[in-house]
Each structure stands twice: as C-alpha cells, then as structure tokens.
C-alpha cells in the first residue's frame, strides 16, 4: 500500500516536471506548475503535522487533567499556548504557500 502510494506520488511529480520542461517558454513557465505542486504538498504536510501535534497536545492535557483535576486550569492555559503556537505555524505555512501561488516570487 505504502509502496503504491509512493510510486503514484513519484509518477505525478515526475509527470508534472516533464510537462513543465516541454513548455517552450523555458525556465519561467516551468515555475508555475512546480510552484502549484510545491504549494499543495507543502500545505498538506504542514496541515497534517500541525493537526497531529495539536491532537497529541490535547491528548496529553486530557490525560493530565484526568490524573490530577486540580491542575486542570494550569494545564488548560499551557494547552492554549501550545495550540496557539502550532496553529501559528500552520498559518505561516499557509501564508508562504499563498505567496507562492499568488505573489509568485519565483516567476510566472
């Protein structure tokens, strides 16, 4: 299963690069599809990993509160801070990806 997923991903990436290199407009035109793929993969990785981090943080906070209910308040504030930092990372990744898509710092 994992092998087939990796193969599909590799084929898709190679195909997009190949189509991009066929374009006559040379270097400038090749950046477009590559940037789109980079944006999609970057956002997927960022959102997935940030979601994983948030889930793990909440799991630990729930366990801590269940074991020691008196510490629930402090744990909640620490959880909020952690979640805010993780969410900021996801939003930074989003902004960088949107820059790649719309501002096009690498060319058209």
């Amino acid at each position: 299963m994992r092998k087939s997923l990796l193969m599909t991903l590799a084929m898709v990436l190679v195909a997009s690069a190949a189509y991009a290199s066929d374009a006559p407009a040379a270097a400038g035109a090749a950046v477009g599809p590559v940037a789109a793929w980079a944006t999609a993969i970057g956002m997927a990785v960022a959102a997935g990993l940030c979601g994983l981090g948030q889930g793990m943080g909440l799991k630990a906070a729930c366990e801590g509160t269940a074991r020691n209910p008196e510490a629930g308040g402090k744990l909640t504030v620490t959880l909020i801070l952690g979640l805010a930092f993780i969410e900021s990372l996801a939003i930074y990744a989003l902004v960088v990806n949107l820059i790649l898509l719309f501002v096009k710092p690498l060319g058209a």
């Binding site: 889930g55 909440l58 729930c62 308040g73 909640t76 949107l98």
Partner: protein
C-alpha cells in the same frame, strides 16, 4: 485603563472564558491587537502595510478566540475530544485560508504587513510564557544566603 480591562474581563467571562488565566491571555491579545493596529495605522498613515497589519491582527485574534474557547471545553471532554479539535482546527484553517487568500490575491494586501499582524499571537504567547517564568523564578539575592 483599569475600567477598560475590567470591562473586557466581564465581557470575556460572559462569553465563556471561565478560567482566569485564559481570560487574561485573551484580554492581552485583544489589547495587543487593538493598540498595535491603531499605532501602526496611525504611524504609517493608514497605508496598505498598516491596513494589512490590522487585518492580520483581526484574523489571528478571532482565530485565537475560537481556539481558547474550544480548548477550555475540550479538556473536560474525555471521548471524541481529539476528533472535535481536529475538525475545529481544519475548519478554522480553511476559513483563515479563504480570508488570507482574498486579502493577498484580490485585495492586494501587503504580505509582510499581514505576516506581522499574524505574529501578534506569537508575541502575546511568548510574553506570557516569559512573564510566567519570571514570576516562578525567585529573585536573586545578594549572595549572602549561599
């Protein structure tokens, strides 16, 4: 200033911020966002950079509001908390993405202003952490105790 802080605290308490520390954190974020946006807008003469900064602070403050409210409720839930958190996280991310895309792509907002505005929550959380550590560490004496 004290009255304003008390009023914000009262509003936050009515809106479900029952924990004192979570309320303080949210209040600091609101004050930082409002004062920061006003200062930057006035300093830059309501330039696109300043307005982008204000938009960034607004987006991240609303995000932080929903995050704080959800986290306070989710810690008490024992079953299905992670699924709810992830659903809320992705929902917020989609809404934030649409708002930022609209600002960057169609309204031509300054990306660096937007990023600076979005960073206010990181500044707030870092300041909070530093202040907590400073309160916990006892003041250094003159060395005679050793």
């Amino acid at each position: 200033m004290t009255t304003l802080v008390q009023k914000i605290d009262a509003v936050l308490y009515r809106r479900g911020f029952a924990l004192a520390d979570a309320r303080k954190l949210m209040r600091n974020q609101i004050l930082l966002a409002a004062c920061g946006s006003a200062l930057v807008c006035l300093a830059t003469g309501f330039s696109p950079w300043g307005l982008s900064f204000a938009a960034g602070t607004l987006i991240i403050t609303m995000n932080f509001w929903w995050l704080s409210k959800a986290a306070q409720e989710l810690v008490k839930v024992q079953n299905g908390a992670v699924f709810t958190l992830l659903t809320l996280f992705y929902g917020r991310l989609v809404l934030t993405g649409v708002a930022i895309a609209a600002l960057v792509a169609w309204l031509g907002a300054s990306v660096f202003g937007l990023l600076a505005g979005l960073s206010t929550v990181v500044v707030n959380a870092t300041l909070w952490g530093v202040l907590q550590i400073r309160h916990k560490v006892p003041a250094t004496g003159n060395g005679k105790e050793a």
